[in-house]
Assembly symmetry: C2
Homo-oligomer: 111 residues x 2
DNA sequence: AAAACGCGTAACCATACGGTTACGTAATTG
DNA sequence: CAATTACGTAACCGTATGGTTACGCGTTTT
C-alpha cells in the first residue's frame, strides 16, 4: 500500500482546498508560526494543524522548530510540477479559444 | 445554499482527481464521445459520467449532443485562472526567495 | 519545580467523494 | 414500432476529508 502516491498527486490534492491555498498565500509574506497562521482563519487550531501536515507532505511548506514555536515557510518548488502540467494546455487556450467560443455559446448552460 | 462556489474553486477541485486529469489529457487529442472516454479507464461508465459532470461544472469540458452521442471537448480556458494563480508563486521558485538552503541548515544546526 | 505556552495527535462526527449496479430516456436501427 | 444504442441519473456503499474537543509533550517562564 503506497501511502504516498506520486508527489504530483499530493500537490494537486493539497491545492484543492481553499484554506490551504490561503495558507500558501499567507506564507508568501514570510515565515509564520503555526499559531499565527491558525489565528487568521475561522477554524480551530487543530484543523489548521492538519492542513499544515498535508502541505508538509506535499512539500509545499517546510517546518522549522525554534524553541517551542514551529515556523512554517513556503516552498514553492512543487508548484513547478503543476506549472509544467499546465504547460501542456497553454497552447490550447491560445489557439483553440476562438474555435471554442462558438461551441460554448451554443450550449444551454445548466449546472 | 451556494450551489456553485467560485469558479476557480471548482477548477482546483476538478483537477484534484487523477482520472479527471487523464480525461483532460485524452481530450487534447480531440473531441470524444462519453463512451469512448469511459472505455479508456478501468472504471465503470457511470463513474466516468460523474467525472465528466464535474469537469463540465468547472467548464473544463463542453458537451455537444450529436444524435444519441455526446461529444466532449476540452475547454482549456479555466486553466488560465490556475495559471494566473501560479503566477503569483513563479517568482519565488525563480529567485532566492525560494531557496531553502539556509532554512534547512538552521533547522539541523542551531547555535 | 510548577505553571503556562505552542503545537501536534487521537478520537470522534457529519458530509463529500469515488465507485458500483439498476434504471430511465432520447435517438437510431431493423 | 420494437429493439438496440448511448448516455445520464438514482440509490447505495465504503472510505476520505474537514471539522470539533480532549489530551499529551516538549519548551519557556516564574
Amino acid at each position: 500500500m503506497p501511502q504516498t502516491a506520486l508527489p504530483q498527486e499530493a500537490v494537486f490534492k493539497a491545492l484543492a482546498d481553499p484554506t490551504r491555498r490561503e495558507i500558501l498565500a499567507l506564507l508568501r509574506q514570510g515565515r509564520q508560526p503555526a499559531g499565527a497562521i491558525a489565528g487568521r482563519f475561522p477554524v480551530s487550531r487543530p484543523a489548521i494543524s492538519k492542513h499544515l501536515r498535508l502541505l508538509r507532505e506535499a512539500k509545499l511548506v517546510v517546518e522549522a522548530r525554534e524553541g517551542r514555536a514551529r515556523l512554517y515557510q513556503l516552498n514553492p518548488a512543487p508548484l513547478k510540477s503543476v506549472d509544467d502540467w499546465i504547460a501542456a494546455y497553454r497552447r490550447y487556450w491560445r489557439t483553440q479559444l476562438g474555435n471554442l467560443r462558438h461551441f460554448v455559446e451554443t450550449q444551454t448552460d445548466e449546472a
